[in-house]
């Protein structure tokens, strides 16, 4: 009993994701190379991605809206995770009131707060966030 007993096991955890109308509008917009947000009818907060409830006042969102496919870089970090180095940025899309997390493909030394970025679309038009491969300097 001098050696500790340690069992090594692995669990697979499959899951399904039901998007709902607002997330669906955002995801299928990406497949169409559009970035879709939503506007709160009560406090006029514009949120990207589109979502069913206002992040500021919790009202039901009104209409979805197509955002200008451009962003400004608000903050970022460059991290190496499992051997892969990537820059993660919070990006203000088309002047929205919220920021969106995505990968920024640029030399970290070339980045500045407030600089303009544009999406680099993936060749495959999939209804997933990865339809935008990364944001790059405009």
């Amino acid at each position: 009993m001098s050696e500790p007993t340690v069992l090594h096991q692995k669990i697979n955890l499959p899951y399904r994701y039901t998007a709902g109308d607002f997330h669906k509008a955002f995801l299928y917009g990406l497949a169409d190379r559009r970035i879709v947000g939503s506007r709160c009818p009560a406090c006029l907060t514009v949120a990207v991605p589109a979502r069913p409830f206002c992040p500021e006042c919790s009202a039901h969102s009104g209409e979805t809206m197509d955002m200008k496919p451009q962003g400004t870089l608000e903050t970022w970090s460059t991290a190496t995770i499992r051997g892969v180095t990537r820059t993660y940025g919070l990006i203000r899309i088309g002047g929205a009131d919220t920021l969106m997390l995505h990968i920024v493909d640029a030399e970290p030394s070339a980045l500045e707060v407030g600089m303009e970025l544009v999406p680099r679309w993936s060749p495959e038009p999939v209804p997933e966030i990865t339809a935008i491969a990364a944001f790059v300097p405009a």
């Binding site: 500790p4 340690v6 096991q9 669990i11 899951y15 994701y17 998007a19 997330h23 955002f26 995801l27 949120a47 991605p49 992040p55 608000e74 903050t75 970022w76 970090s77 460059t78 991290a79 190496t80 995770i81 990537r86 993660y88 940025g89 919070l90 990006i91 203000r92 919220t98 920021l99 969106m100 997390l101 995505h102 990968i103 970290p108 707060v113 997933e128 966030i129 990865t130």
Partner: protein, 387 residues
């Protein structure tokens, strides 16, 4: 609050990277035994138990069932909480509410994590929205990196000032026999030379990953006075939440809305106007060196943008005007589900005068906070006399 509640006992394991000598229930029992044993209490005196940890971290569901026999909870009311990094402080707040409500006289609160037994980063990724963030997020450290870079941009805080927070923590930890990382000779230069993890965060700017558990006993006034000569009275508690997505509240990364809301609320409830002058010690949940400086500002220990100056002036050192984390803090010890309860337990030990070598003399009023992924804060004010 209905009636008063007080912490009468606190105990914890000696936190390390990997406990190979005990299972999770055995490790938790160790903290419970140390807690109850510190005041010659026994499990039979406990009316109800609250237990918390991080969901998915050890791949175990219903963890409270796995350890019911170890913590003396079988056949008793047993409540489980699983609200992220702040869960340990939520355990303390829930225990206080259960006692204050009059439903139970003596409640045992437990937090634990055996981080060595799971894939922490994989588990944290499940926090992200499946459609928006999981594919483009970088685990906890990437999120902290984004938070820290926001704070640097807004406040002008320097890497040297952040490094001083780590030096303070790891040196304070040398006076705490339970602390995981104790570094008597650590220097600012060593922190600045450590490996970059997620800019601007270096390895020594980050909290470790620990195995450990913590327990406290919360009691009603008459029971509390029987159990210990100087209970740590709960003067105020607050819980504040924010929304899930990092980008929804642009300013909250550096100036946490939930931390401001929770701390302002407990200051108001406890009649505290100038926290820097009126608090004798604070145990805050700082996941990274930069975060502690940002928290000084949200906790109103100083003006906006002055967090770096506070550490430069030594205000928060062990012998400073307002010592912060004399235990060594989260930068020295981080068994996540226990971490926020350790903050409350350490604050209670300071008020009870039982903190040993890291005791701050004459503590009457102490603040403890819990933190969870920028989205939750718990705040607790403990006092040496009943409110």
């Amino acid at each position: 609050m209905g009636r008063n509640a007080a912490i009468v006992a606190a105990g914890q394991t000696d936190h390390v990277s990997r406990r190979l000598d005990v299972s999770i229930p055995e490790m938790v029992r160790e903290a419970v035994d140390r807690c109850l044993g510190s005041k010659d209490l026994n499990p039979g005196q406990v009316d109800a138990v609250v237990v918390g940890n991080m969901e998915l971290f050890e791949g175990i569901n219903f963890p409270e069932l796995w350890m019911a026999s170890a913590i003396g909870a079988a056949g008793k009311p047993l409540f489980k909480l699983n609200n992220g990094g702040t869960v340990g402080a939520s355990v303390a707040v829930a225990a206080a509410h259960l006692v204050a409500s009059g439903l139970y006289d003596v409640v045992l609160g437990i937090g634990y994590e055996k981080q060595s037994e799971g894939e922490t980063q994989s588990a944290i990724t499940t926090v992200g929205d499946p459609a928006w963030e999981r594919s483009v997020m970088a685990g906890a450290i990437g999120n902290f990196g984004v938070m820290a870079s926001t704070y640097v941009a807004e406040s002008g805080v320097t890497a040297e000032q952040a490094a001083k927070v780590t030096v303070k923590a790891r040196r304070n930890a040398c006076l705490n026999p339970h602390a995981h990382l104790q570094s008597p000779d650590i220097t600012v230069e060593e922190v600045l030379a450590s490996r970059m993890l997620a800019a601007p965060l270096r390895l020594l700017d980050m909290c470790p990953s620990s195995d450990g558990a913590c327990a406290v006993v919360m009691a009603a006034p008459d029971r509390a006075r029987e159990m210990t000569p100087r209970p740590a009275w709960v003067a105020a508690t607050e819980t504040a939440h924010d929304t899930q997505f990092m980008g929804d509240s642009p300013k909250r990364l550096a100036r946490m809305r939930s931390l401001i809301a929770a701390s302002d609320s407990v200051y108001s409830k406890a009649g505290i106007v100038d926290p820097r002058a009126e608090l004798d010690v604070a145990e805050v949940y700082e996941p990274a060196s930069y975060a502690e400086l940002a928290m000084y500002e949200s906790l109103r220990f100083c003006d906006w943008g002055e967090g770096g100056s506070l550490v430069d002036e030594g205000v928060t050192l062990m012998d400073g005007e307002l010592p912060v984390n004399p235990s060594g803090g989260v930068l020295s010890t981080n068994p996540v589900g226990a971490t926020a309860l350790i903050r409350v337990a350490e604050a209670a030990l300071q008020v009870m005068g039982e903190a040993g070598d890291h005791q701050i003399p004459g503590v009457e009023t102490a603040l403890a906070t819990g933190y969870g992924g920028n989205a939750w804060t718990e705040a607790v004010i403990l006092k040496g006399s009943a409110p």
